[in-house]
Symmetry: C2
Subunit: 214 residues, 2 copies
Amino acid sequence: MLDLVQDAIPRPYHHGDLRAALVRAGVELAREGGLAALTLRAATRRAGVSAGAAYRHFTSHEDLTFAVGAVALSDMARSIERRQAEVVSGNDLERALAMLRAVGLGYIDYALDDPGNFEVAMFGLFTLAHTSLEPARGDRGLTPYELLVDAVTHLVALDVLKAEQSFTVAITCWSTVHGFATLATRGPLRELPREALDEQADDVVRTLVAGLLP
Amino acid sequence: MLDLVQDAIPRPYHHGDLRAALVRAGVELAREGGLAALTLRAATRRAGVSAGAAYRHFTSHEDLTFAVGAVALSDMARSIERRQAEVVSGNDLERALAMLRAVGLGYIDYALDDPGNFEVAMFGLFTLAHTSLEPARGDRGLTPYELLVDAVTHLVALDVLKAEQSFTVAITCWSTVHGFATLATRGPLRELPREALDEQADDVVRTLVAGLLP
DNA sequence: TGTACATCAGTGAACGCGCGTTCACTGATGTAC
DNA sequence: TGTACATCAGTGAACGCGCGTTCACTGATGTAC
């Protein structure tokens, strides 16, 4: 309905940057209804354009989904960076541990803030090689996974982890926060108020990271 | 095609136990193609029956999905029980810890053995109150979640956990194994051979449970 | 034991839905001369 | 600066698809007498 008002201002025949507009629309759709709501037709509708127009910019529905997922991943990376920016005090080891916890907490923050795009990000991540996503980066130029690996690598540099443990540790951390995010978003924790979830997340991540040390 | 051969034997007009047959078909469909493949029409097709017949036994597509999810949960419960049956040696504390690890490992076993039904189970679990599922029980009469709570409660009884920690501990454990199952099933671990995943799962669960103790 | 009838499981045709995708087209843009 | 034309972004109508769901029906079953 509101779209009609916007459309009353006659859009020029050429949109200008339809690709970006479709991705933006896709992000909105995912935010409102998750992966299932992210359709090509809905995105073109929201951009005020005919359905076929999408094919000038995306080869398929999957293609749009990946593009939206990449935006989601870069938002997630920024969410992690925000948590990491708070890490200032302590000695080297304490800071390194706090940085790893920040990866987990930023991951969970993002999932709680925007469960729909979290779902899209995971879909894209899990069906595409996650390393090849160029736009899926935060302000430091790293993807969420790379931020995790970076934090783990610091612990290796400080000699609290052995290099050959890195991968297992990274996967363990990812498992825990991913599982928590899912449970908190769609599972038995979904009724809890946000502050209780944040507290719970803190407990879980703290326990996890503490358990990694010898 | 093969169905035609089966249908050559004329099925009586009344099926006998169509409800069970549809659930069985649903489980097969989910095993082959996950939640997305679990449709009413496909299930009736597989049962060799017209599409409308399903509505004599299920009120909706969701209704069938829940029924399949309940079977999946009970299979998962049995998978956990299988792991727990292996726990025999050690003192009380050691056995209690091993029983908790067995919950996690059985959960992961099930997800790796049947990722499609794992997905269905989670859908059902996450959209329905998981406590109300009557058929979702294993041989001990408990749902997977109840098996988890049971194992945690034992640790409380042995005074290694405080009662008020139970819920947080249960959720932390669930988070980790759920996340691991997802990553191993559809995520970056999905290419790894089964034995490597089993080993990794063992590491993760061992680390997790060890980290819960004071 | 036999018949009449209510019950109800399964049929098959139909409905509307929204989707992804294609295609001949139209309208705007920008480049070559 | 002006015109011809190639380019290509966006149109709109159409396609087929499989889905969930409904409904008047038909055929089998079992119960009452």
